[in-house]
């Protein structure tokens, strides 16, 4: 520790709030899971300062060094999550959402009851470890991002009505489980049903295309026999096939996207859906991963400092009246070296319930807003 070994690392700690017993710790470096862990004494102190404050009714929320941000969050007075991130461009907002999602994932897998009434720490530790072993590692890179590794192609109305944590977490979960033709997986819904488990049934219709059903004790998986599936899905097999390659691109083939656009993120705040892609002009620099990070950093920047938070998001913002009468509508950012024609341009546009973020490499600054407006217009029928 100490020497340049901490650059770009993220440590996630989960402790039982009352006893301070660590339930699990995860570390990642450069987006990949890492072995390197924080020494036990550091974990103890990190938890200690938070507990110490709480005893005196001072709630420690975050701390920053020149390159690291630490965020503490307690859930139901029972679980304390701590994240320490030295990834560049980390923002508090992002870490807070990460913790929200981590706790959501814990509820999803273990249930709220188990987490708030910790009777047997060792048992819980074991359970969490088992449940999270695959999930957390796989989702580790996706945590806190807006990216859903498995995208929802179509869903019933009631699926869309799921609360934010489970709506985001369920596709992650499906994506993180080892491939199987069919699964019957017990889940708690962090928002909708944190104490009573539901069953998540998944059926692989085509390679890369899974059908997910959320249901109560019935029906058993065996009832969803192949014939039933055939009857319902055979007629739409062609459209289904067409869906599969769409995956990463997210937009229908032939959609008139401007050449300059290298990545986009469209949020519909009321429907709580988003459309995301970093595939356009995939042959150009930067790499899709880089694009994703740029968009993510820009998203947290504009959400934290300008645009109002999404409805239902937990973090409240300090705003005074004067600022509210001045409503932010758009935002752009030019990054990169001084030379003209280099670097990235990012633009965000808010229009009604829709928020569009674009990444572009070439567009001149003054054309960014026009580009965003046109793109948003073109995308409106889709979302």
């Amino acid at each position: 520790m100490g020497e340049e070994g901490t650059k770009g690392t993220v440590h996630l700690l989960c402790l039982a709030a009352s006893s301070g017993v660590p339930l699990f710790c995860r570390s990642s470096r450069g987006g990949a899971p890492a072995r390197q862990q924080l020494p036990f004494s550091v974990i103890g102190s990190l938890n200690g300062v938070h507990m110490f404050g709480q005893n005196l009714e001072v709630q420690l929320r975050s701390a920053r060094t020149e390159d690291t941000t630490v965020v503490w969050k307690s859930f139901h007075d029972s679980i304390t999550l701590i994240v320490l991130s030295s990834e560049e461009g980390t923002s508090e907002l992002r870490l807070e959402r990460l913790l929200q999602m981590v706790f959501g994932a814990m509820v999803l897998l273990v249930g709220l009851e188990e987490l708030t009434n910790i009777r047997n720490v060792e048992r819980l530790k074991k359970e969490l470890r088992e449940a999270l072993s695959g999930f957390a590692e796989a989702a580790g890179t996706a945590f806190g991002s807006l990216v859903v590794s498995g995208r929802v192609v179509a869903a019933t109305e009631s699926w869309w009505r799921l609360g934010t944590p489970e709506a985001v977490l369920l596709p992650w979960l499906v994506g993180s489980l080892p491939p199987q033709a069919a699964r019957d997986y017990p889940v708690y819904l962090p928002h909708g049903s944190p104490t009573v488990p539901h069953r998540l049934l998944t059926l692989t219709l085509l390679p890369g295309l899974e059908l997910c059903l959320l249901c109560g004790p019935r029906p058993p998986l065996s009832q969803l026999d192949p014939q039933l599936l055939d009857r319902w899905w055979q007629p739409v097999l062609d459209p289904l096939r067409a869906c599969v390659p769409l995956g990463p691109r997210a937009l229908p083939a032939g959609f008139p996207l401007h050449m300059d656009i290298l990545g986009l993120l469209l949020l519909h705040l009321e429907l709580k859906r988003c459309l995301f892609t970093v595939e356009p002009s995939a042959d150009q620099e930067p790499s899709p991963e880089h694009r994703r990070r740029l968009l993510r950093a820009f998203y947290t920047l504009v959400t934290a400092s300008h645009f109002p938070p999404e409805p239902g998001s937990p973090e409240e913002k300090v705003e005074d009246a004067a600022q509210r009468s001045q409503v932010p509508r758009a935002c752009y950012l030019v990054s990169g070296p001084e030379e003209p024609g280099t670097g990235w341009r990012l633009v965000a546009l808010q229009s009604g319930p829709r928020r569009l973020l674009l990444l572009s490499a070439q567009s001149p600054t003054h054309a960014l807003r026009g580009l965003a407006t046109h793109t948003l217009h073109a995308l409106t029928p889709l979302l």
């Binding site: 520790m1 100490g2 020497e3 340049e4 901490t6 650059k7 770009g8 450069g30 924080l38 550091v42 102190s45 200690g48 300062v49 110490f52 404050g53 005196l56 001072v58 709630q59 420690l60 929320r61 701390a63 920053r64 060094t65 020149e66 390159d67 690291t68 630490v70 320490l84 030295s86 560049e88 461009g89 930067p286 991963e289 990070r293 740029l294 993510r296 950093a297 820009f298 920047l301 400092s305 300008h306 300090v318 005074d320 004067a322 009468s325 001045q326 409503v327 932010p328 509508r329 758009a330 935002c331 752009y332 950012l333 030019v334 990054s335 001084e338 670097g343 990012l346 600054t365 003054h366």
Partner: protein, 875 residues
């Protein structure tokens, strides 16, 4: 009327007001008389004892002087308000404020408690202590003294503070035994919980801690102050009951814990923060160990309010400043703590010497009371007469106070040259008594440089950037700049030893050929007269003789600086003209773009106001244009004033003074002045004559001849072309341009902003500054990364990481929409106006930052605007 910052935070018992007769000297003599002895008094010789400068009595033992004589009108307005931190003697004509006159503090009641001392003033404790315990005869709180947990006792009224020795190490032996025994083990107080609350039934909130017995040999008994029947109310300022006493006691840190050197102010929130200092110390140590970088800030929730705490670590000391997030956003707080550290180091050499010397405590109290006032009530501090100027000050402070630069006023070349000459003459120190030949001995000080402020704007500087900023931050902190913005200064003399980083930092270059700073001492001399303030940095040692002890201000130097200011008095009107004529670049008012109806929108392009406002600068040249402009303007914004200004006959300088004297808005005075100009063109020549006459007294009569005329025609033409935005209309609302290399920034003057009165515009300005603050925070991140990159050049290990960040951000823009606050027309939607706030960072060729705010109708290219703005912007 607001008190000046110097007196705002001050306290003084009213009965001392009647004043010291000794200070009543020369109340009737006017300025000329007062300076008549300039140069005639020398501290080196006692021959001249017949005239003493009036500030001489105020010089303190350590040589420091803070002498302020307000102008008469200012004084009147202040008289009813009594409180002052400093010792104040009122005479009929002057107020003398002496800093640090605390020794004779018989009647001095500190609001700000020192924590290295035992509490003395009971009146400071929150009232609820009294209320809650009205029925008790003896109320006790235990105060642990931080350093060694041994201290004395103070008893007053019906409750007392007792300091007892508490050693938490005892715990390790006894902890396991039983619950609720810390009180016995650590303090030696026996409290039988079950007894008393059966009757009172106040279980929920916890039971009062009545002392039922004392443990033999325990700390409580040893203290001799705690009696059976007393009630324990608070431990280390934390209220305790039976419910939380154990937790509170368990949090008492061991004796190895660091000492609190200074703590300010006394408030519930601040006590709370003090009680959780363990968090800050632990975070500071631990995070530095884990991450290898220093902790900069943390955020916590206290009584439902979010509070940011900024950290500043120097050697083994830690400075913490906590402020509510609502009031002070984090980026601002970070700039503020940097400024505090910088100012304290400038004043005391290091944070160590600032905080570790007992005699500094009252000074620090004063320092921090000013600091908190600036942070939390900026509007109160900026006590300019006009509400619009005050509003502008308050809403811009969030950004401007944190900029590493001084507010600069661009002046026409001729005036600038004159100022330069005046300062150079002073700096050469070649006048009679200052020249070494005169007494045939070494001079006392070398003048390293000086900078001149007018109404709070820097107008001329011959100081290295670092020195300039050090001095400006000092002046800003003590509220000197707004002080001079109105004519508030009768006479100001400040003298103190300072520690400018530029001269004291050891040079990294080991080359002996390179210039080395002499191991000298440095002194800051500030002299203020009316609107002017001249800051001079002096060096003792090196070429000049070595300073011995704590030298006070030397009269020759003070007088020489004063003389220089008197010489400059004639230029007043030119500078004022520049201030009021708002030449560069032209601004528009947001409200003009808010014309809801269609026809007005069409009008926009041909609107006389819009097309002419840029022409405000023509004021001094073409009377016809001017008249039309003002005709329009007064129709639109204000009723024609019934009475002409009486100052019409004497426009230039007098008009300027009118600004200061008038209790009403500055714009009024400005308009009056202009109207009078406009109504009678011949007056201009009169003013010219007058100016020339005044000039004749200047030591350098060479630049006289063509001064005025050339200026009005040539310069103003240049200014006329200075429209920053593109397109037919001027769409620029506001701007801030920071030139980091020279340490200056330019932004519209108060006068310019005051002309753009409207309902939306002030909100836009406020929002602009707040938005710029967050944009600038992103730029600062970029600069940090750039610096790191420059350090690690050749070592590419960090490159994989940087892809996740947006850096280096060089341009950042936000589009806002706004509409009028009160829109009564139900049938129509309120009109909407959209504007951009754009920040641009330039790394090459030199570091510059530009922030502009303009209407959405035209697409602007920031780099072009920057080119126009920065062009010719030099000290």
């Amino acid at each position: 009327m607001m008190a000046s910052p110097i007196s705002c935070s001050s306290r003084h018992s009213p009965d001392e007001l009647p004043g010291d007769p000794s200070s009543q000297e020369d109340e009737d003599c006017d300025y000329e008389d007062r300076v008549s002895y300039s140069g005639s008094y020398s501290s080196a010789s006692s021959d001249y004892d017949e005239v003493e400068p009036e500030w001489l009595d105020s010089v303190q033992k350590n040589g420091e002087l803070f002498y302020l004589e307000l102008s008469e009108d200012e004084e009147e307005s202040l008289l009813p308000e009594t409180p002052t931190v400093n010792h104040v003697r009122f005479s009929e004509n002057e107020i003398i404020i002496e800093e640090d006159d605390y020794k004779e503090g018989k009647k001095y009641e500190p609001k700000l408690k020192r924590f290295t001392k035992i509490l003395k003033t009971k009146s400071l404790l929150p009232k609820r202590y009294n209320k809650k315990n009205r029925n008790d005869n003896e109320l006790v709180s235990i105060l642990k003294h931080q350093s060694n947990q041994k201290t004395g006792v103070v008893v007053q009224q019906r409750y007392k503070d007792v300091n007892v020795y508490v050693n938490p190490k005892k715990l390790t032996v006894t902890k396991a035994k039983e619950q609720l025994k810390l009180l016995e083990v650590l303090v030696g107080i026996i409290h039988q919980s079950k007894w008393s609350w059966k009757k009172s039934g106040k279980q929920g909130s916890g039971e009062r801690l009545v002392v039922h017995g004392l443990l033999p040999g325990g700390s409580a008994m040893k203290s001799g102050q705690i009696l059976i029947g007393d009630v324990l109310l608070a431990v280390n300022d934390v209220d305790v009951t039976s419910e939380n006493i154990e937790r509170v006691l368990s949090c008492i840190p061991g004796p190895m814990q660091q000492e609190i050197l200074y703590h300010c102010p006394v408030s519930d929130a601040s006590q709370k923060l003090k009680s959780v200092r363990g968090i800050f110390l632990t975070l500071c140590d631990m995070l530095e160990n884990v991450t290898g970088t220093q902790v900069t800030s943390s955020s916590l929730l206290l009584n439902g309010k979010q509070i940011h705490v900024a950290y500043w670590k120097e050697s083994d000391k830690l400075l913490l400043i906590g402020l509510p997030a609502e009031e002070v956003p984090l980026p601002q707080l970070r700039n503020m703590i940097g400024d505090v550290a910088q100012t304290l180091k400038f004043m005391y050499g290091s944070l160590d010497s600032a905080f570790c010397q007992v005699e500094n405590v009252p000074r620090l109290d004063h320092f921090f009371s000013l600091f908190f006032q600036r942070a939390l009530q900026p509007a109160k501090l900026h006590s300019s007469a006009s509400p619009s100027a005050r509003q502008y000050d308050a809403s811009s402070a969030v950004l401007l106070d944190g900029l590493p630069g001084v507010r600069w006023l661009t002046l026409p070349q001729e005036i600038k040259m004159e100022l330069d000459t005046a300062l150079s003459d002073l700096e050469a120190a070649d006048f009679a008594e200052l020249s070494e030949d005169y007494y045939d001995m070494r001079r006392l000080y070398t003048i390293l440089g000086s900078s001149l402020f007018y109404k709070g704007y820097l107008i001329c500087s011959h100081l290295p950037k670092d020195d300039l900023i050090d001095i400006a931050v000092y002046c800003r902190h003590y509220g000197l700049l707004p002080l001079a913005a109105k004519q508030r200064i009768g006479q100001l003399v400040i003298w103190r030893e300072v520690f400018p980083r530029h001269h004291l930092q050891p040079s990294a270059d080991s080359n002996t050929e390179v210039f080395r700073e002499p191991e000298g001492r440095y002194f800051l001399l500030i002299v203020g007269l009316k609107y002017y303030m001249l800051c001079v940095l002096l060096e003792a040692g090196g070429c000049a003789s070595k300073a011995v002890g704590n030298p006070g201000p030397d009269c020759i130097y003070v007088d020489q600086v004063k003389t220089t200011l008197h010489q400059l008095e004639g230029i007043d009107c030119h500078i004022n003209e520049r201030l009021t004529s708002s030449p560069s670049p032209c601004l528009s008012c947001a409200d003009w773009f808010l014309t809801g109806s269609h026809e007005k929108l069409d009008n926009l392009t041909t609107s006389p106001i819009l097309s002419r406002l840029p022409g405000t600068s023509k004021v001094a040249t073409s009377p016809t244009c001017r008249r039309i402009l003002f005709g329009d303007y007064s129709l639109k914004t204000r009723k024609p004033s019934p009475s002409r200004s009486s100052g019409g006959s004497d426009n230039g300088c007098e008009g300027g003074e009118g600004v200061g004297l008038s209790p009403h808005a500055i714009p009024n005075a400005v308009w009056k002045q202009r109207e009078s100009q406009g109504s009678d063109g011949s007056e201009e020549s009169g003013a010219l004559l007058k100016v020339t006459k005044k000039k004749a007294t200047l030591p350098n009569p060479f630049h006289l001849g063509n001064l005025k005329k050339d200026l009005s025609e040539k310069e103003l033409e240049i200014y006329n072309t200075m429209k920053l935005t593109s397109g037919p209309e001027n769409t620029l609302f506001h701007y801030v341009a920071l030139e980091t290399v020279q340490g200056i920034f330019i932004t519209p003057t108060h006068e310019e902003v005051a002309q753009l009165s409207g309902s939306i515009h002030p909100q836009l300005i406020k929002n602009f500054h707040q938005c710029c603050l967050s944009i600038r925070a992103v730029f600062q991140q970029t600069l940090v990364e750039e610096k790191k990159k420059a350090l690690n050049r050749g070592d590419h290990s960090g490159s994989t990481n940087s892809i996740s960040s947006l850096n280096p951000v060089k341009e950042y823009g936000v589009l806002f929409e706004c509409s009028p606050e009160k829109w009564t027309d139900q049938r129509k939607a309120p009109p909407v106006m959209a504007y951009w706030v754009v920040g641009r960072l330039f790394l090459h060729p030199k570091l510059q930052e530009l922030y502009v705010c303009f209407h959405d109708s035209v697409t602007e290219i920031a780099i072009e605007m920057a080119f126009k703005l920065f062009f010719g912007l030099t000290l």
